[in-house]
């Protein structure tokens, strides 16, 4: 009987946010889940991943039915909700499907924003907790996770999936980088303090923007946002003054008229000595007079322009995603091949073959040095060496066969394969 790899979970597509919220994504809940998996007699190895977009339990078992019940009741306990309530939102993958899912999650193909880089870090942390702190992983999951990191790296370097921006604020940052060499040392003026503006500001700050100035009709709110990013709050009437010293302006007020009229920008240009000025207008109706885009060294992108960029990038990403899926598929096949070697028979055969080939090649090397031998002498050497390796190999093979059904089988097999380096073909594993 081979061990089964199972993955039970829910993600942003299968479950609404209210449900995902229940499975609180803190360390305590995952350590609770891990210890629950460790206590269970049905589960051999376990790993638990919980982020704001997904909850995943990955485990190996010889008793799939019982193990599944254990995990479901554990999820129900964690979320404090009945199993019936979340059953429709759950997916269960087994064996190659589970491997594929784990690889896809790690390489961010299953993310809400495909290609976003955070998920890999979250998985690494989950693995660290399972393998290092709670010690719930073993031979198979350890290798599976290392392969998953490897797949993620391949997907990142071999496909362009993480290059193109897909969210509005990503798109804005990407554009800013085509105007300015780098965002380091640049100043941003935030006009209006809505949620979108805050998101954009967070993104810009994450890309090295030096300082942030916030102008808002209600000064209180401006101060709040400014404090959040260690910026400076100014009055709404001061926009014209600060237009002279900033490089990027993000507007998102609910004003019906243009907050930044054409003349205001035109008049500032000479005083700015023609330094480029980039307007990101995410307000509807628009805050910046569209005519400013015609001014020299002034660039204006409104929400529709940005959406267009996002759509183009999404299309480009789909092509790259096909490439990524191929990589995932390749690695699943490789991993399954390795899993099969965890049966005792292939390992014993491989071990015998290896020793036999060593014996043969050594005899071939030595025969010429021994001079003229009679056929019976050669036979004697043959049987001497054969019985020698037979005796040496006997005990290890008996031990391996004895472990065939035990819990520690995989460890013994893994060690054997490593000691005699039977997996020559994938050293990088």
């Amino acid at each position: 009987m081979t061990v089964r790899i199972v993955n039970i979970g829910m993600n942003h597509e299968s479950a609404p946010v209210e449900l995902r919220e229940c499975m609180a994504n803190n360390r305590e809940s995952s350590s609770l889940a891990l210890s629950c998996m460790r206590e269970s007699e049905w589960i051999k190895e376990g790993l638990f991943l919980s982020t704001c977009n997904r909850v995943e339990a990955i485990y190996t078992t010889d008793y799939p039915e019982e193990a599944r019940k254990t995990i479901l009741s554990m999820l129900s306990m964690l979320g404090n909700i009945s199993e019936e309530r979340f059953m429709p939102n759950i997916y269960i993958y087994e064996d190659s499907e589970a491997l594929k899912h784990v690889f896809r999650v790690a390489s961010s193909l299953d993310s809400m924003v495909v290609g976003e880089p955070q998920i890999l870090g979250q998985i690494k942390e989950a693995y660290h907790q399972a393998a290092g702190v709670e010690k719930t992983t073993g031979v198979i999951l350890n290798r599976l996770m290392h392969r998953a990191f490897h797949v993620a790296k391949r997907v990142k370097t071999e496909t362009g999936i993480s290059e193109a921006a897909v969210s509005i604020s990503y798109a804005a940052v990407e554009l800013a980088k085509k105007i300015y060499y780098s965002l380091e040392g640049k100043k941003v003026l935030l006009v209006g303090a809505g949620e979108m503006a805050e998101l954009a500001a967070r993104h810009l700050m994450g890309n090295g923007i030096e300082s942030l100035i916030v102008a808002n009709r209600s000064f209180d709110k401006a101060v709040q946002i400014a404090d959040l990013f260690r910026g400076k709050a100014v009055f709404f009437e001061e926009i014209e003054t600060y237009l002279l010293e900033v490089d990027i302006v993000v507007t998102s007020t609910s004003s019906m008229d243009f907050v930044i009229p054409y003349d205001m920008v035109r008049n500032s240009l000479r005083k700015r000595r023609n330094h480029p000025l980039f307007f990101i207008d995410i307000a509807v109706p628009r805050d910046v007079d569209p005519r400013v885009n015609r001014l020299e060294n002034v660039y204006l992108y409104d929400i529709d322009d940005l959406k267009k960029v996002v759509n183009e990038n999404t299309a480009q990403r789909k092509e790259e995603a096909i490439k990524a899926e191929r990589i995932v598929q390749e690695e699943v096949i490789r991993f399954e091949k390795w899993l099969k070697t965890l049966d005792v028979v292939p390992t014993i055969t491989a071990l015998k073959d290896k020793i036999e080939s060593i014996r043969k090649s050594e005899i071939e090397k030595s025969l010429p040095a021994l001079g003229d031998l009679t056929p019976s002498q050669i036979r004697a050497i043959d049987s001497l060496t054969e019985s020698l390796i037979g005796k040496i190999m006997n005990d290890p093979i008996v031990v391996l066969k004895g472990k065939a059904d035990g819990r520690s089988r995989d460890i013994y097999l893994d060690v054997t394969r490593k000691l005699f380096s039977l997996d020559k073909d994938d050293k990088n594993a």
């Binding site: 085509k178 105007i179 023609n274 992108y301 183009e312």
Partner: protein, 278 residues
């Protein structure tokens, strides 16, 4: 010997030009790395060729259109390599190497003429005059290339079209500062070239300024670049306006070089130079 050196250099430069073009199409850094190495080798062979010519002629190999084009191309590649080392702007190579290749091909296509050289041309001033002028010109080629790239990129950003060049070209700020930097360095070289030319003329021909058409056009070129530099430094021109102006300046420069060298000029033209030599 000289011919073999030049042919090897030409082959390497052509090869690297092909690589640079592949690089801009495929955006694979592997192409760039190889093209860059090959161009470096080509530059070395071209340098050896010029050294060989110098010893064979007894003066700088800049006295016929054939040799001047080859020398100009050498300057362009040299300046490009300097910019690559200094700024690492990979895509610049895809714009500059084709020009260098074309100049080298024209040069090899022009039949060589055997001539003896009058002592008037065997002067250190000739080397200084032509060397500084062409280093300045090569820097202006960079200015020009950066201006073209700037206009393409700006067009993409302004019209929100994001064509195929959008991802391949660097940021506007980078292109503008390359334009600025090469102008800042090209101008003093051109100035030095003109001053040394005047000194050379005084020493060789007895008067520093003879209203030769090429001299006049050079002065116009110099003034045009001076205006551009002034607007940049004092008025704060940048971006599109500076890019357009540097393209206009470069056109004047080309006119001066081609028309001036070929048939308008008196003693600067190669026909007359050859007359001077024979």
């Amino acid at each position: 010997m000289a011919e073999i050196l030049y042919k090897i250099a030409l082959f390497l430069v052509l090869l690297s030009t092909g690589g640079f073009i592949l690089f801009i199409i495929r955006q694979d850094k592997k192409f760039f790395r190889w093209s860059y190495k090959i161009l470096f080798m080509g530059f070395i062979f071209h340098t050896l060729f010029l050294v060989h010519q110098y010893y064979a002629l007894g003066t700088a190999p800049v006295i016929s259109l054939k040799s001047t084009l080859s020398f100009f191309s050498w300057c362009i590649v040299g300046v490009y390599l300097f910019y690559q080392i200094r700024f690492g702007l990979m895509v610049l190579g895809s714009f500059v190497t084709p020009l260098a290749s074309i100049l080298m091909i024209i040069s090899i296509a022009i039949p060589g003429v055997e001539y003896t050289i009058k002592p008037i041309l065997k002067s250190a001033w000739l080397i200084i005059h032509v060397g500084t002028v062409f280093i300045g010109d090569a820097l202006f080629v960079i200015t020009f290339a950066a201006a073209i790239m700037y206009l393409i990129q700006e067009h993409h950003i302004k019209t929100k079209t994001r064509g195929s060049f959008y991802t391949r070209l660097p940021s506007l700020e980078t292109l503008d500062s390359i334009n600025h930097h090469s102008l800042m360095y090209g101008f003093p070289f051109l100035t030095l070239g003109m001053i040394s030319g005047a000194i050379y003329a005084q020493y060789a021909l007895g008067s520093y300024w003879r209203w030769d058409p090429k001299e006049v056009w050079s002065l116009i070129t110099w003034l045009a670049y001076a205006v551009l530099l002034h607007e940049r430094l004092a008025v704060g021109w940048r971006g599109r306006r500076a890019a357009l102006m540097s393209i206009v300046c470069f056109c004047i420069l080309l006119f001066t070089f081609l028309v001036g060298s070929l048939w308008l000029s008196d003693y600067h033209s190669f026909d007359n130079l050859e007359g001077l030599i024979r």
